[in-house]
Amino acid sequence: MSAAVLMAEGLSRVYEIGGGLFGKPREIRALSDVSFEIARGRTLAVVGESGCGKSTLARVVTMIEPPSAGRFAIDGTDVTPGRWAGLRDAVQIVFQDPYGSLNPRQRISAILDEPLKINRKSLSRAEREAKVREVMALVGLRPEFHDRYPHMFSGGQRQRIAIARALMLEPRVLVLDEPVSALDLSVQSQILNLLMELQERLGLTYLFISHDLSVVRHVCDEVMVMYLGRAVETGAKAQVFDSPRHPYTLALLSATPVADPARRKERIKLTGELPSPLDIPLGCAFAARCWKAQDRCRAERPDLEGDGHKVACFFPEGG
């Protein structure tokens, strides 16, 4: 597909921890062999529980860390650490916690101005200020907020500021790392609406990272379900939500509480916990918690296979 704005192939990221003066450092495979494509103006949701590698994926895609293996490209340009500086304005990020992601010692004007100051050296001060005010209006921030400090704002407004900052360089791709998880319900819908309006107006491409399936179901076009650093199921929203094939996806869907007391459903009870990323089992990572697991699952790792709707399981649901 040539229209892909963001393309990743076999991305991996390995961290070395411990070690120090004595002993060998141990390896943590935070991200293993993840591939995806997002077309312009679309949203790919990455779903998973803590430790599944979704935040590591965000750090690799936003060029904070290089991948240990694999490659990814933005608009057909291969991203290598040497080209990071030139590609900064293509991908920006919005974090989960709007209290931690804004520098408490900077005014809103300085927070929004910083990306321009660093990356658009040719702009004059007046031009930069005009641009700041334009983006503030775009995300629904009142002009008088310009000179205030972040601590004077509520969580929802801070998240608007964080979004405005991410938009300052007119990126093509926005990585949204749990953008509404820290917000109250009544504010969450405001921010989700803002994100969807911005996507339509600016043709943005979103990599939407979340653990909240009801939010994901509402905003995304395609879904990638991750478990312990690997994608276990990918496909269009309708495919994954309506006919999930991986047992983990099924369990995740059934564990998500539904705000409808009349619909008492049978929950799939997963036993056990996530294995430690320090010693990922040999076979399928989910085998230890899976009710369908057989000897083969514990010995061999299934590949992500399928046409469009892909799944990494030897015994997928519905076929």
């Binding site: 904070i64 991908v91 931690g100 992601s101 408490p104 990356n119 964080a162």
Partner: protein, 292 residues
Amino acid sequence: MSVALRQGPLAEFWYYFRENRGAVIGLWVFAAFAFVALFAPLLAPYDPTQQFRQSVLLPPAWIAGGDWAFPLGTDPLGRDMLSRLIHGARYSFFVGIVVVVVAASGGILLGLIAGFSPRWLDSLIMRLMDVILAFPSLLLALVLVAILGPSLTNAMIAIALVLQPHYVRLTRASVLSERTRDYVVSARVAGARLPRLMFVTVLPNCLAPIIVQAALSFSTAILDAAALGFLGMGAQPPTPEWGTMLAEAREFILRAWWVVTFPGVAILVTVLAINLMGDGLRDALDPKLKRS
């Protein structure tokens, strides 16, 4: 609970500072001290080195034999105690300012570098600081002054060097905790390079504990300078430095109590006031100690 959401940071700071009565008193005493130091030539009745040979070792004015021309009496050379004390404030203030500025700027810079640098450089800097901290500080300052030669400037250099590791450790610790916060990552995504990350993004958020440390080391500097002066390794006579004054008057301690008492009281009051103020600063700037 969102406390004082609508107040400016300064007003909030003042609210918490005001809670601590000792700190407010300390602040006033310190303000008076700074005032005296600034306007010493205008406030002092005499030149501090002028000798009145006919009135040697005069007691304070309210004691029999005293003279209101010399309110706090005179020293063995007939110099006016009050004038010397007032000019002494000047030296102490000067020592405090210079030592804090030198120690803090060097310490902050090293701390920032240690906090951002790869592990080997970080360990190198920190082990070096550990070595300095392992010496008794006054002893180290004494050795340094002995090498450089006794003078007020050299004493200040020595004290600044001895105080520096505290700043390095403090800065490094807060850099390490701030460095992983999302706003720093966000600045990196925006393309900020290392110098900008260090000085524009992270440093302003590490300042609170450093300011407190600066206030407290101001008093340490005054104390150490007085101690070096007393040992003859700091300011040299006839400089009216408080520690030097104490040393000069040592032999008269039994005959003329005022020549030792007043410089001692001056040191005590100043150091105590600054320490009280520093405590108040810590209460006001350190969010962990804030109530509700």
